[in-house]
């Protein structure tokens, strides 16, 4: 469904991604693991059209989307639950969700999607009038996911959805992701919580210093000694 080929990305003079290639099959969960600053977020932003790649191509459903602006990428069905949640703090929950459906592909299905999101996260319905900035971290993460789903995505990229959440909430969020994937959504999952994400994923990539150093199925990587040592502290 998504094909990233030999992508290089720079911030000014500093290189963030170096010849990264990866493949996301339809209806799969693909995990990307790597340390802080390895380039995971940069990769996601590049796919989402928020960072221009210096070279390489990105294809989505057999269409070259390299260099498309982010709102057009979004409109093709690539959604994103960004690092740090990125909700609109002074907007209400309902307004936040409405913003998720501003892209043309989602506009007609706004009401239906809103019902779905509220069904998925009843808590959001309770809080619909509250300013997003005053939600708890877990609620904000729900809102970020819900907002993303409002955009009718076919592929969702999750960037560290468990960041800063209490373990119980982490579990809830991860379960949601698993359920969404089971419901037919293609997922890219970036997590520092390596053990968990590898377990969920059907395929995984290890990113180090902007380069893919290892790839395989979740289980393969989980069994890999290097991975165990570097990321699991075992």
């Amino acid at each position: 469904m998504l094909l990233v080929h030999e992508v290089d990305v720079f911030y000014g003079d500093a290189q963030a991604l170096d010849g990264v290639s990866l493949e996301v099959p339809d209806r799969a969960i693909v995990a990307i693991v790597g340390a802080n600053g390895a380039g995971k977020t940069s990769l996601i932003r590049t796919i989402a059209g928020m960072l221009p790649p210096a070279s390489g191509t990105i294809r989505f459903k057999d269409r070259d989307i390299t260099g498309l602006p982010s709102h057009e990428v979004c409109d093709l069905g690539i959604g994103q639950v960004a690092e740090g949640r990125q909700v609109f703090p002074s907007l209400s929950v309902a307004e936040n969700l409405a913003m998720g459906a501003m892209i043309p592909r989602a506009k007609p299905h706004r009401a239906r999607n809103l019902d779905r999101v509220y069904a998925l996260f009843p808590r959001l319905k309770e809080r619909h009038g509250q300013a997003a900035g005053t939600l708890s971290g877990g609620e904000q993460q729900m809102l970020a996911i819900g907002r993303c789903l409002m955009g009718e995505p076919e592929l969702v990229m999750f960037d560290e959805p468990s960041l800063g959440l209490a373990p119980a909430v982490v579990q809830e969020v991860l379960r949601t992701i698993r359920d969404l994937a089971a419901g037919g959504l293609t997922c890219v999952l970036v997590e520092q919580n390596v053990a968990v994400s590898l377990k969920l994923a059907s395929r995984a990539y290890v990113l180090e210093n902007g380069r893919v150093t290892l790839s395989g199925t979740g289980e393969e990587l989980l069994a890999d000694d290097g991975v165990r040592k570097a990321y699991l502290g075992l």
Partner: protein, 289 residues
């Protein structure tokens, strides 16, 4: 006797302040969302004054009507400017934006001088000199109309930002730019829209001002400074703040003329500015950074 003096002065301050507030509102909206400080703001206001003047003299259009045309034209102008000239400067350091817009300001002022000459221009409406006498309080008709119009336009803008999805989307951009890109908002377009709206505000304010005072190219820098003072007092990026700041400046200057001396009134508003900066740097209505 004395209280009627204060009453009159207060009313004038409030009415004038609202119109200034509308002008400053444009600046605040642009800054709050696009994060560009429009150093040519007063110049645009003066361009609008001349536009209203021309429409009045060529077509006999009352500025209270032509204000809609001017707002529309300024919206388009702002949209285009943001798309072409300003956009590359978004996110760039203040001083670079400053030089760009100062350059623009110099061009506007002198362009107006070339076209219209230096004489003061004014739209004399049939009711320009009418007033209502409410007991000892005198209310200029045009001043009152202008204030009402300013309130109405501000109200429309508030409504737009509160109730339309596009309005909410613009607020979203101001709130969290990354978030806006994440959900697929077309940020460039929304920026252009915002700049357009900001200039539309100035357009309206300019049209209203030409019923109150006279247009000459040279008043522009003073208006820019005034708008900045208001916006910083009210809180950069806060829409209510701009109106509150305008009101406050209007009232404070008016009262200072009576209590201290007319020649010192802008000193008082600068004093107020310094006070606000020291005690509440984010402005009266601004959010804490």
């Amino acid at each position: 006797m004395l209280w009627s003096l204060y009453g009159n002065v207060l009313v004038q301050g409030i009415l004038t302040g609202l119109v200034y507030g509308l002008m400053a509102l444009g600046l605040s909206v642009i800054f709050g969302v696009v994060r560009v400080v429009n150093f040519a703001h007063g110049e645009f206001a003066v361009v609008a004054m001349y536009a209203a003047f021309v429409l009045f003299h060529a077509l006999g259009l009352d500025p209270f009507i032509s204000m809609f045309l001017i707002a529309a034209a300024f919206f388009v102008l702002g949209y285009g400017l943001q798309r072409t000239l300003i956009n590359p400067f978004v996110g760039r350091p203040d001083h670079e934006q400053f030089i760009l817009l100062v350059g623009l300001a110099i061009m506007l002022v002198n362009g107006l001088l070339m076209i219209f000459g230096p004489d003061a221009r004014h739209a004399n409406l049939p009711y320009s000199f009418d007033s209502w006498f409410v007991g000892p309080i005198i209310v200029d008709k045009v001043r009152a109309y202008a204030a009402i119009a300013a309130l109405a336009v501000s109200g429309l803008l508030f409504g737009f930002f509160r109730f339309t999805t596009t309005g909410v989307a613009i607020r979203a951009c101001a709130d969290n730019l990354v978030g806006a890109a994440v959900v697929g908002l077309d940020v460039k377009k929304l920026y252009a829209l915002t700049f357009g709206l900001g200039l539309a505000c100035v357009g309206c304010a300019g049209a209203l001002m030409v019923t109150l005072t006279d247009a000459t190219p040279m008043i522009a820098p003073g208006l820019t400074l005034l708008a900045f003072t208001i916006v910083i007092i009210g809180g950069m990026g806060s829409m209510v703040g701009a109106l509150v700041g305008g009101l406050l400046i209007g009232i404070v200057e008016a009262l200072a003329s009576v209590v201290i001396a007319p020649s010192m009134k802008s000193m008082v508003s600068f004093g107020l500015l310094v006070l606000v900066l020291a005690l509440r740097p984010q402005g009266l209505m601004g959010k804490r950074a």
